[in-house]
Amino acid sequence: MILVRLVQDLGWAALRFVDHLGRLTVFAGTVLRALLRLPARPRLFAQALFDVGVLSLIIICVSGTAVGMVLSLQGYNTLVRFGAEQSLGAVVGLSLIRELGPVLTALLATGRAGSATAAEIGTMVATEQLDGLRMMAVDPVEFVVTPKAVAMTFAMPLLSALFITCGLFGGYLVGVGLMGIDSGTYMSSLQSAVVFRDDVLGSLLKALVFGALVGLIATFRGFTSAPTSAGVSAATTSTVVVASVCILLFDYVLTALWGV
Protein backbone atom coordinates (compact mmCIF):
# COMPACT_ATOMS: atom_id res chain seq x y z
CA MET A 1 0.00 0.00 0.00
CA ILE A 2 2.79 2.40 0.92
CA LEU A 3 4.60 1.45 -2.26
CA VAL A 4 1.51 2.22 -4.37
CA ARG A 5 1.18 5.58 -2.64
CA LEU A 6 4.84 6.28 -3.26
CA VAL A 7 4.51 5.48 -6.97
CA GLN A 8 1.36 7.64 -7.13
CA ASP A 9 3.10 10.59 -5.50
CA LEU A 10 6.06 10.16 -7.80
CA GLY A 11 3.73 10.10 -10.80
CA TRP A 12 1.94 13.26 -9.68
CA ALA A 13 5.25 14.99 -9.07
CA ALA A 14 6.44 14.00 -12.55
CA LEU A 15 3.19 15.24 -14.11
CA ARG A 16 3.41 18.52 -12.24
CA PHE A 17 7.00 18.93 -13.37
CA VAL A 18 6.13 18.33 -17.02
CA ASP A 19 3.10 20.63 -16.76
CA HIS A 20 5.25 23.35 -15.23
CA LEU A 21 7.95 22.92 -17.84
CA GLY A 22 5.35 23.20 -20.59
CA ARG A 23 3.86 26.37 -19.11
CA LEU A 24 7.34 27.86 -18.68
CA THR A 25 8.10 27.11 -22.34
CA VAL A 26 4.85 28.73 -23.50
CA PHE A 27 5.63 31.72 -21.27
CA ALA A 28 9.13 31.99 -22.79
CA GLY A 29 7.51 31.97 -26.24
CA THR A 30 5.14 34.76 -25.20
CA VAL A 31 8.04 36.84 -23.89
CA LEU A 32 9.97 36.30 -27.14
CA ARG A 33 6.91 37.26 -29.21
CA ALA A 34 6.43 40.40 -27.11
CA LEU A 35 10.10 41.20 -27.60
CA LEU A 36 9.76 41.08 -31.36
CA ARG A 37 6.51 43.05 -31.40
CA LEU A 38 6.54 46.82 -31.46
CA PRO A 39 6.42 49.14 -29.57
CA ALA A 40 9.76 48.68 -27.85
CA ARG A 41 9.93 50.36 -24.47
CA PRO A 42 13.47 51.69 -23.99
CA ARG A 43 12.60 53.68 -20.89
CA LEU A 44 11.17 50.64 -19.09
CA PHE A 45 14.16 48.57 -20.20
CA ALA A 46 16.57 51.22 -18.85
CA GLN A 47 14.69 51.30 -15.53
CA ALA A 48 14.78 47.51 -15.28
CA LEU A 49 18.50 47.52 -16.16
CA PHE A 50 19.07 50.01 -13.35
CA ASP A 51 17.10 47.87 -10.87
CA VAL A 52 18.85 44.66 -11.83
CA GLY A 53 22.33 45.99 -12.60
CA VAL A 54 23.14 49.20 -10.79
CA LEU A 55 21.41 48.20 -7.56
CA SER A 56 23.41 44.94 -7.54
CA LEU A 57 26.79 46.65 -7.93
CA ILE A 58 27.77 46.79 -4.27
CA ILE A 59 26.95 43.17 -3.50
CA ILE A 60 28.76 42.03 -6.67
CA CYS A 61 31.89 44.10 -5.99
CA VAL A 62 32.16 43.14 -2.33
CA SER A 63 31.47 39.45 -2.98
CA GLY A 64 33.85 39.35 -5.95
CA THR A 65 36.68 40.88 -3.96
CA ALA A 66 36.10 38.55 -1.01
CA VAL A 67 35.96 35.45 -3.23
CA GLY A 68 39.17 36.49 -5.01
CA MET A 69 40.94 37.02 -1.69
CA VAL A 70 39.88 33.63 -0.31
CA LEU A 71 40.74 31.90 -3.58
CA SER A 72 44.18 33.45 -3.56
CA LEU A 73 44.79 32.49 0.06
CA GLN A 74 43.62 28.89 -0.41
CA GLY A 75 45.38 28.63 -3.76
CA TYR A 76 48.66 29.86 -2.33
CA ASN A 77 48.52 27.43 0.62
CA THR A 78 47.91 24.52 -1.78
CA LEU A 79 50.37 25.56 -4.50
CA VAL A 80 53.18 26.24 -2.08
CA ARG A 81 53.19 22.52 -1.10
CA PHE A 82 54.15 21.68 -4.67
CA GLY A 83 56.46 24.65 -5.11
CA ALA A 84 54.15 26.08 -7.75
CA GLU A 85 53.12 29.34 -6.07
CA GLN A 86 54.19 31.27 -9.18
CA SER A 87 51.09 29.86 -10.87
CA LEU A 88 48.76 31.62 -8.39
CA GLY A 89 47.65 34.20 -10.97
CA ALA A 90 46.63 31.46 -13.39
CA VAL A 91 44.73 29.49 -10.74
CA VAL A 92 42.83 32.51 -9.44
CA GLY A 93 42.17 33.85 -12.94
CA LEU A 94 40.97 30.60 -14.52
CA SER A 95 38.83 29.65 -11.51
CA LEU A 96 37.14 33.03 -11.49
CA ILE A 97 36.74 33.46 -15.23
CA ARG A 98 35.68 29.94 -16.19
CA GLU A 99 33.57 28.97 -13.21
CA LEU A 100 33.15 31.07 -10.11
CA GLY A 101 32.53 34.39 -11.82
CA PRO A 102 29.43 33.52 -13.85
CA VAL A 103 28.02 30.99 -11.35
CA LEU A 104 28.39 33.07 -8.19
CA THR A 105 27.22 36.22 -9.97
CA ALA A 106 24.11 34.40 -11.17
CA LEU A 107 23.42 33.06 -7.65
CA LEU A 108 23.89 36.51 -6.11
CA ALA A 109 21.76 38.19 -8.77
CA THR A 110 19.06 35.57 -8.19
CA GLY A 111 19.01 36.33 -4.48
CA ARG A 112 18.95 40.07 -4.92
CA ALA A 113 17.35 40.98 -8.24
CA GLY A 114 15.54 37.74 -9.15
CA SER A 115 13.63 37.56 -5.90
CA ALA A 116 12.83 41.29 -6.09
CA THR A 117 11.51 40.85 -9.64
CA ALA A 118 9.29 37.92 -8.64
CA ALA A 119 8.00 39.81 -5.59
CA GLU A 120 7.27 42.95 -7.61
CA ILE A 121 5.35 41.13 -10.34
CA GLY A 122 3.61 38.92 -7.76
CA THR A 123 2.46 42.01 -5.88
CA MET A 124 1.15 43.47 -9.13
CA VAL A 125 -0.85 40.25 -9.62
CA ALA A 126 -2.20 40.38 -6.05
CA THR A 127 -3.23 44.04 -6.34
CA GLU A 128 -4.85 43.50 -9.77
CA GLN A 129 -2.40 45.88 -11.46
CA LEU A 130 -1.78 43.37 -14.25
CA ASP A 131 -5.53 42.95 -14.78
CA GLY A 132 -5.76 46.74 -14.78
CA LEU A 133 -3.22 46.83 -17.62
CA ARG A 134 -5.18 44.17 -19.53
CA MET A 135 -8.36 46.19 -19.15
CA MET A 136 -6.54 49.22 -20.55
CA ALA A 137 -5.68 47.04 -23.57
CA VAL A 138 -2.00 46.88 -22.62
CA ASP A 139 -0.27 43.50 -22.67
CA PRO A 140 1.34 42.99 -19.23
CA VAL A 141 3.88 40.57 -20.72
CA GLU A 142 5.08 43.31 -23.05
CA PHE A 143 4.84 46.10 -20.49
CA VAL A 144 6.06 44.43 -17.29
CA VAL A 145 7.66 41.05 -17.98
CA THR A 146 9.73 41.52 -21.13
CA PRO A 147 11.74 44.59 -20.03
CA LYS A 148 12.66 42.86 -16.75
CA ALA A 149 13.57 39.51 -18.34
CA VAL A 150 15.67 41.16 -21.07
CA ALA A 151 17.36 43.47 -18.57
CA MET A 152 18.37 40.47 -16.47
CA THR A 153 19.80 38.75 -19.56
CA PHE A 154 21.84 41.82 -20.53
CA ALA A 155 22.97 42.70 -17.01
CA MET A 156 24.28 39.27 -16.07
CA PRO A 157 27.41 39.21 -18.33
CA LEU A 158 28.24 42.77 -17.21
CA LEU A 159 27.83 41.90 -13.54
CA SER A 160 29.84 38.71 -14.05
CA ALA A 161 32.67 40.68 -15.70
CA LEU A 162 32.64 43.07 -12.77
CA PHE A 163 32.66 40.19 -10.29
CA ILE A 164 35.66 38.64 -12.05
CA THR A 165 37.54 41.96 -12.16
CA CYS A 166 36.97 42.52 -8.44
CA GLY A 167 37.95 38.88 -7.78
CA LEU A 168 41.22 39.30 -9.69
CA PHE A 169 41.90 42.47 -7.74
CA GLY A 170 41.20 40.70 -4.42
CA GLY A 171 43.43 37.78 -5.47
CA TYR A 172 46.18 40.19 -6.43
CA LEU A 173 45.94 41.98 -3.07
CA VAL A 174 46.36 38.76 -1.08
CA GLY A 175 48.82 37.03 -3.43
CA VAL A 176 51.13 39.98 -3.99
CA GLY A 177 50.46 42.14 -0.96
CA LEU A 178 50.11 39.48 1.72
CA MET A 179 51.86 36.35 0.45
CA GLY A 180 54.72 38.20 -1.18
CA ILE A 181 54.44 36.83 -4.71
CA ASP A 182 56.10 39.03 -7.28
CA SER A 183 53.62 41.30 -9.02
CA GLY A 184 55.04 40.61 -12.50
CA THR A 185 54.98 36.85 -11.89
CA TYR A 186 51.33 36.99 -10.78
CA MET A 187 50.24 39.03 -13.78
CA SER A 188 52.24 37.10 -16.40
CA SER A 189 50.96 33.80 -15.02
CA LEU A 190 47.42 35.14 -15.31
CA GLN A 191 47.99 36.55 -18.80
CA SER A 192 49.58 33.43 -20.24
CA ALA A 193 46.94 31.06 -18.79
CA VAL A 194 43.79 32.88 -19.86
CA VAL A 195 42.73 32.51 -23.49
CA PHE A 196 40.32 35.26 -24.53
CA ARG A 197 38.16 33.23 -26.92
CA ASP A 198 37.84 30.05 -24.86
CA ASP A 199 37.85 31.46 -21.36
CA VAL A 200 36.57 35.04 -21.43
CA LEU A 201 34.00 34.71 -24.20
CA GLY A 202 32.91 31.32 -22.84
CA SER A 203 32.45 32.92 -19.42
CA LEU A 204 30.35 35.73 -20.87
CA LEU A 205 28.25 33.22 -22.81
CA LYS A 206 27.63 31.26 -19.62
CA ALA A 207 26.58 34.45 -17.82
CA LEU A 208 24.26 35.33 -20.69
CA VAL A 209 22.54 31.92 -20.47
CA PHE A 210 22.25 32.24 -16.69
CA GLY A 211 20.82 35.74 -17.07
CA ALA A 212 18.13 34.51 -19.47
CA LEU A 213 17.38 31.62 -17.13
CA VAL A 214 17.05 33.78 -13.99
CA GLY A 215 15.06 36.45 -15.85
CA LEU A 216 12.63 33.90 -17.20
CA ILE A 217 12.16 31.98 -13.95
CA ALA A 218 11.74 35.14 -11.83
CA THR A 219 9.19 36.73 -14.15
CA PHE A 220 7.33 33.44 -14.66
CA ARG A 221 7.08 32.78 -10.93
CA GLY A 222 5.86 36.31 -10.26
CA PHE A 223 3.43 36.29 -13.18
CA THR A 224 1.85 32.98 -12.20
CA SER A 225 1.82 33.56 -8.44
CA ALA A 226 -1.39 33.22 -6.45
CA PRO A 227 -2.96 36.65 -5.82
CA THR A 228 -2.30 36.56 -2.07
CA SER A 229 0.53 37.57 0.24
CA ALA A 230 1.36 33.89 0.70
CA GLY A 231 1.42 33.53 -3.08
CA VAL A 232 3.92 36.38 -3.43
CA SER A 233 6.07 34.89 -0.69
CA ALA A 234 5.98 31.45 -2.34
CA ALA A 235 6.88 32.95 -5.73
CA THR A 236 9.87 34.74 -4.23
CA THR A 237 11.16 31.67 -2.42
CA SER A 238 10.67 29.34 -5.35
CA THR A 239 12.42 31.80 -7.68
CA VAL A 240 15.56 31.61 -5.57
CA VAL A 241 15.40 27.82 -5.14
CA VAL A 242 14.51 26.88 -8.72
CA ALA A 243 16.82 29.41 -10.35
CA SER A 244 19.76 28.39 -8.14
CA VAL A 245 19.32 24.71 -8.94
CA CYS A 246 18.88 25.48 -12.66
CA ILE A 247 22.05 27.60 -12.68
CA LEU A 248 24.11 24.76 -11.22
CA LEU A 249 22.57 22.16 -13.56
CA PHE A 250 23.03 24.35 -16.63
CA ASP A 251 26.58 25.11 -15.52
CA TYR A 252 27.40 21.42 -15.73
CA VAL A 253 25.62 21.00 -19.07
CA LEU A 254 27.36 24.02 -20.63
CA THR A 255 30.75 22.92 -19.32
CA ALA A 256 30.27 19.32 -20.46
CA LEU A 257 28.88 20.13 -23.90
CA TRP A 258 30.87 23.15 -24.97
CA GLY A 259 33.74 23.17 -22.49
CA VAL A 260 33.02 26.73 -21.40
Binding site: E128, Q129, D131, G132, R134, M135, M136, A137
Partner: protein, 271 residues
Protein backbone atom coordinates in the same frame (compact mmCIF):
# COMPACT_ATOMS: atom_id res chain seq x y z
CA UNK B 1 -28.61 35.72 -30.69
CA UNK B 2 -32.16 34.91 -29.82
CA UNK B 3 -31.75 35.45 -26.12
CA UNK B 4 -34.38 37.27 -24.15
CA UNK B 5 -33.50 38.21 -20.63
CA UNK B 6 -36.05 38.24 -17.86
CA UNK B 7 -35.91 42.00 -17.83
CA UNK B 8 -37.20 42.10 -21.36
CA UNK B 9 -34.01 43.42 -22.87
CA UNK B 10 -33.25 41.60 -26.10
CA UNK B 11 -29.64 40.49 -26.13
CA UNK B 12 -29.33 41.89 -29.62
CA UNK B 13 -30.10 45.38 -28.25
CA UNK B 14 -27.92 44.95 -25.21
CA UNK B 15 -24.39 46.24 -24.80
CA UNK B 16 -23.50 43.17 -22.78
CA UNK B 17 -25.26 39.82 -22.83
CA UNK B 18 -24.59 36.48 -21.18
CA UNK B 19 -25.94 33.40 -22.97
CA UNK B 20 -26.04 30.12 -21.06
CA UNK B 21 -22.76 30.84 -19.29
CA UNK B 22 -21.29 28.10 -17.14
CA UNK B 23 -18.35 28.83 -14.92
CA UNK B 24 -16.63 26.98 -12.08
CA UNK B 25 -13.60 27.45 -9.90
CA UNK B 26 -12.31 23.93 -9.49
CA UNK B 27 -15.20 21.85 -8.21
CA UNK B 28 -17.22 24.88 -7.10
CA UNK B 29 -19.71 26.02 -9.74
CA UNK B 30 -20.31 29.77 -9.92
CA UNK B 31 -22.68 30.07 -12.87
CA UNK B 32 -24.89 27.25 -14.13
CA UNK B 33 -26.29 28.54 -17.37
CA UNK B 34 -26.47 32.27 -16.61
CA UNK B 35 -28.34 34.23 -19.27
CA UNK B 36 -28.95 37.93 -18.88
CA UNK B 37 -28.54 41.17 -20.75
CA UNK B 38 -27.45 44.68 -19.79
CA UNK B 39 -29.16 47.46 -21.76
CA UNK B 40 -27.17 50.30 -23.34
CA UNK B 41 -27.03 53.69 -21.68
CA UNK B 42 -28.40 52.40 -18.38
CA UNK B 43 -26.98 51.78 -14.94
CA UNK B 44 -27.22 48.10 -14.10
CA UNK B 45 -26.26 46.84 -10.67
CA UNK B 46 -25.32 43.26 -9.89
CA UNK B 47 -26.16 42.18 -6.36
CA UNK B 48 -25.63 38.87 -4.65
CA UNK B 49 -24.22 37.20 -1.58
CA UNK B 50 -20.54 36.59 -1.05
CA UNK B 51 -19.25 34.03 -3.53
CA UNK B 52 -22.27 34.41 -5.81
CA UNK B 53 -20.04 35.42 -8.72
CA UNK B 54 -20.63 39.19 -8.88
CA UNK B 55 -17.01 40.14 -9.46
CA UNK B 56 -16.54 37.09 -11.68
CA UNK B 57 -19.35 38.41 -13.90
CA UNK B 58 -17.43 41.66 -14.38
CA UNK B 59 -14.19 39.78 -15.05
CA UNK B 60 -16.02 37.66 -17.62
CA UNK B 61 -17.25 40.80 -19.40
CA UNK B 62 -13.70 42.12 -19.46
CA UNK B 63 -12.37 38.81 -20.77
CA UNK B 64 -10.08 38.49 -17.75
CA UNK B 65 -11.46 34.99 -17.16
CA UNK B 66 -13.14 32.70 -19.64
CA UNK B 67 -16.32 30.72 -19.02
CA UNK B 68 -16.35 26.92 -19.10
CA UNK B 69 -19.07 27.15 -21.74
CA UNK B 70 -21.60 29.62 -23.11
CA UNK B 71 -21.22 32.96 -24.84
CA UNK B 72 -20.68 36.53 -23.70
CA UNK B 73 -21.49 39.34 -26.11
CA UNK B 74 -19.90 42.75 -25.64
CA UNK B 75 -21.16 45.40 -28.06
CA UNK B 76 -22.32 42.57 -30.29
CA UNK B 77 -19.05 40.64 -30.34
CA UNK B 78 -18.77 37.17 -28.83
CA UNK B 79 -15.69 37.65 -26.68
CA UNK B 80 -15.49 33.98 -25.66
CA UNK B 81 -14.12 33.06 -29.08
CA UNK B 82 -11.68 35.95 -29.37
CA UNK B 83 -7.93 35.54 -28.96
CA UNK B 84 -6.16 37.62 -26.31
CA UNK B 85 -4.86 39.98 -29.00
CA UNK B 86 -8.36 40.54 -30.44
CA UNK B 87 -9.73 41.01 -26.93
CA UNK B 88 -7.57 44.11 -26.56
CA UNK B 89 -9.59 45.79 -29.32
CA UNK B 90 -12.82 45.09 -27.38
CA UNK B 91 -11.27 46.25 -24.11
CA UNK B 92 -10.59 49.69 -25.60
CA UNK B 93 -14.36 50.19 -25.46
CA UNK B 94 -14.44 49.22 -21.79
CA UNK B 95 -13.35 51.00 -18.65
CA UNK B 96 -12.95 49.12 -15.42
CA UNK B 97 -12.80 50.45 -11.90
CA UNK B 98 -11.31 47.73 -9.73
CA UNK B 99 -12.25 47.23 -6.10
CA UNK B 100 -8.74 48.05 -4.87
CA UNK B 101 -8.11 50.68 -7.54
CA UNK B 102 -5.44 48.64 -9.40
CA UNK B 103 -3.50 51.82 -10.07
CA UNK B 104 0.14 51.28 -11.03
CA UNK B 105 1.89 51.89 -7.72
CA UNK B 106 5.16 53.05 -9.27
CA UNK B 107 3.45 55.93 -11.10
CA UNK B 108 1.94 59.14 -9.76
CA UNK B 109 -1.81 59.66 -10.05
CA UNK B 110 -1.18 62.01 -12.97
CA UNK B 111 0.88 59.39 -14.82
CA UNK B 112 -1.66 56.69 -14.00
CA UNK B 113 -4.38 58.76 -15.65
CA UNK B 114 -2.15 59.79 -18.54
CA UNK B 115 -1.13 56.17 -19.13
CA UNK B 116 -4.10 55.06 -21.31
CA UNK B 117 -3.88 58.26 -23.36
CA UNK B 118 -0.14 57.80 -23.92
CA UNK B 119 -0.72 54.18 -24.93
CA UNK B 120 -3.70 54.57 -27.23
CA UNK B 121 -3.86 58.13 -28.53
CA UNK B 122 -1.60 60.45 -30.46
CA UNK B 123 -2.25 63.41 -28.16
CA UNK B 124 0.76 65.53 -27.28
CA UNK B 125 1.80 66.03 -23.66
CA UNK B 126 0.03 69.41 -23.12
CA UNK B 127 -3.24 67.93 -24.43
CA UNK B 128 -2.78 64.86 -22.23
CA UNK B 129 -2.15 67.12 -19.23
CA UNK B 130 -5.35 69.03 -19.98
CA UNK B 131 -7.38 65.83 -20.25
CA UNK B 132 -5.92 64.45 -17.02
CA UNK B 133 -6.63 67.66 -15.11
CA UNK B 134 -10.18 67.73 -16.46
CA UNK B 135 -10.81 64.20 -15.14
CA UNK B 136 -9.09 64.91 -11.82
CA UNK B 137 -11.30 67.94 -11.32
CA UNK B 138 -14.37 65.93 -12.29
CA UNK B 139 -13.67 63.41 -9.53
CA UNK B 140 -12.75 66.11 -7.02
CA UNK B 141 -9.01 65.44 -6.90
CA UNK B 142 -7.48 68.48 -8.62
CA UNK B 143 -4.41 68.51 -6.35
CA UNK B 144 -3.69 64.79 -6.24
CA UNK B 145 -1.79 64.51 -9.53
CA UNK B 146 1.66 64.48 -7.99
CA UNK B 147 0.82 61.92 -5.30
CA UNK B 148 1.53 58.20 -5.45
CA UNK B 149 -1.40 55.77 -5.05
CA UNK B 150 -0.21 54.72 -1.57
CA UNK B 151 -0.48 58.34 -0.42
CA UNK B 152 -4.24 58.44 -1.09
CA UNK B 153 -7.09 57.49 1.23
CA UNK B 154 -9.51 54.71 0.22
CA UNK B 155 -12.11 57.16 -1.11
CA UNK B 156 -9.53 59.17 -3.05
CA UNK B 157 -8.08 55.97 -4.50
CA UNK B 158 -11.50 54.88 -5.75
CA UNK B 159 -12.12 58.28 -7.32
CA UNK B 160 -8.69 58.20 -9.00
CA UNK B 161 -9.46 54.69 -10.27
CA UNK B 162 -12.78 55.93 -11.63
CA UNK B 163 -11.02 58.83 -13.35
CA UNK B 164 -8.56 56.42 -15.00
CA UNK B 165 -11.39 54.12 -16.08
CA UNK B 166 -13.07 56.93 -18.02
CA UNK B 167 -9.92 58.42 -19.58
CA UNK B 168 -10.61 56.84 -22.97
CA UNK B 169 -14.34 57.65 -22.90
CA UNK B 170 -15.44 54.01 -22.70
CA UNK B 171 -18.74 52.78 -24.09
CA UNK B 172 -19.18 50.53 -21.07
CA UNK B 173 -17.95 51.21 -17.55
CA UNK B 174 -17.50 48.27 -15.18
CA UNK B 175 -17.25 49.06 -11.47
CA UNK B 176 -16.30 46.44 -8.90
CA UNK B 177 -17.59 47.39 -5.45
CA UNK B 178 -17.16 51.15 -5.90
CA UNK B 179 -18.67 51.92 -2.49
CA UNK B 180 -17.02 49.30 -0.28
CA UNK B 181 -15.07 50.62 2.67
CA UNK B 182 -16.10 54.22 2.07
CA UNK B 183 -17.64 56.75 4.41
CA UNK B 184 -21.17 57.98 3.55
CA UNK B 185 -19.92 61.24 2.03
CA UNK B 186 -17.52 59.42 -0.31
CA UNK B 187 -20.30 56.98 -1.23
CA UNK B 188 -22.59 59.83 -2.19
CA UNK B 189 -19.82 61.55 -4.14
CA UNK B 190 -18.98 58.45 -6.20
CA UNK B 191 -22.65 57.69 -6.70
CA UNK B 192 -23.24 61.22 -8.02
CA UNK B 193 -20.22 60.90 -10.31
CA UNK B 194 -21.47 57.65 -11.81
CA UNK B 195 -24.98 59.01 -12.33
CA UNK B 196 -23.57 62.15 -13.95
CA UNK B 197 -21.38 60.08 -16.28
CA UNK B 198 -24.37 58.01 -17.27
CA UNK B 199 -26.62 61.01 -17.86
CA UNK B 200 -24.12 63.28 -19.58
CA UNK B 201 -22.24 60.78 -21.74
CA UNK B 202 -24.71 57.94 -22.00
CA UNK B 203 -22.13 55.44 -20.76
CA UNK B 204 -23.50 51.99 -19.98
CA UNK B 205 -22.55 51.31 -16.37
CA UNK B 206 -22.47 47.85 -14.86
CA UNK B 207 -21.54 47.82 -11.23
CA UNK B 208 -21.21 45.21 -8.58
CA UNK B 209 -22.17 46.29 -5.09
CA UNK B 210 -23.18 45.23 -1.62
CA UNK B 211 -24.49 48.70 -0.96
CA UNK B 212 -28.24 48.30 -1.25
CA UNK B 213 -29.15 51.92 -0.47
CA UNK B 214 -27.01 53.31 -3.30
CA UNK B 215 -28.10 50.53 -5.60
CA UNK B 216 -31.75 51.34 -5.15
CA UNK B 217 -31.12 55.04 -5.65
CA UNK B 218 -29.08 54.93 -8.82
CA UNK B 219 -29.86 51.69 -10.64
CA UNK B 220 -32.05 51.49 -13.72
CA UNK B 221 -31.90 47.70 -13.50
CA UNK B 222 -30.82 45.31 -10.79
CA UNK B 223 -29.64 41.75 -11.25
CA UNK B 224 -29.57 39.63 -8.11
CA UNK B 225 -27.47 36.50 -8.40
CA UNK B 226 -29.12 33.70 -6.45
CA UNK B 227 -27.64 30.18 -6.47
CA UNK B 228 -30.66 28.78 -8.32
CA UNK B 229 -31.26 31.51 -10.90
CA UNK B 230 -30.78 35.24 -11.21
CA UNK B 231 -33.62 37.69 -10.67
CA UNK B 232 -33.76 40.87 -12.74
CA UNK B 233 -35.88 43.97 -12.41
CA UNK B 234 -36.02 47.67 -11.77
CA UNK B 235 -35.55 48.78 -8.15
CA UNK B 236 -39.31 49.45 -7.92
CA UNK B 237 -40.17 46.02 -9.31
CA UNK B 238 -37.80 44.32 -6.88
CA UNK B 239 -39.15 46.25 -3.89
CA UNK B 240 -42.64 45.14 -4.84
CA UNK B 241 -41.56 41.58 -5.61
CA UNK B 242 -43.43 38.75 -3.95
CA UNK B 243 -40.33 36.57 -4.23
CA UNK B 244 -39.27 35.88 -0.65
CA UNK B 245 -35.61 35.57 -1.59
CA UNK B 246 -35.66 39.06 -3.08
CA UNK B 247 -37.40 40.70 -0.14
CA UNK B 248 -35.16 38.83 2.30
CA UNK B 249 -32.08 39.88 0.37
CA UNK B 250 -33.09 43.52 0.14
CA UNK B 251 -34.12 43.77 3.76
CA UNK B 252 -31.29 41.76 5.33
CA UNK B 253 -28.10 43.31 6.51
CA UNK B 254 -28.88 46.89 5.57
CA UNK B 255 -25.73 48.95 5.39
CA UNK B 256 -25.07 51.57 8.07
CA UNK B 257 -25.96 54.43 5.77
CA UNK B 258 -29.31 52.85 4.96
CA UNK B 259 -29.95 52.40 8.67
CA UNK B 260 -29.19 56.07 9.25
CA UNK B 261 -31.55 57.03 6.43
CA UNK B 262 -34.29 54.83 7.85
CA UNK B 263 -33.81 56.34 11.31
CA UNK B 264 -33.90 59.84 9.81
CA UNK B 265 -37.06 58.98 7.86
CA UNK B 266 -38.81 57.59 10.93
CA UNK B 267 -37.74 60.58 13.02
CA UNK B 268 -39.13 62.89 10.36
CA UNK B 269 -42.35 60.87 10.37
CA UNK B 270 -42.66 61.23 14.15
CA UNK B 271 -42.24 64.96 13.88
Amino acid sequence: MAIESRSGVAAGDAHVAFADVHMAFGDRPVFRGLSCAFPPGKISVVLGGSGSGKSTALRLIGGLVRPSSGHIYVTGEDITILSEVKLYAVRKKLGMMFQGGALLDSLTIFDNLAFPLREHTTLDEPAIAREVMRRLEAVGLPDAGSLLPNELSGGMLKRAALARAIMLDPVILLCDEPFSGLDPISVKRIEALLVRLNHQRGITIILVSHHIASTMRMADRVLILFPEEPVVGTPAELRASADERVSAFLSEEPDPEEMRERRADSAAGRR
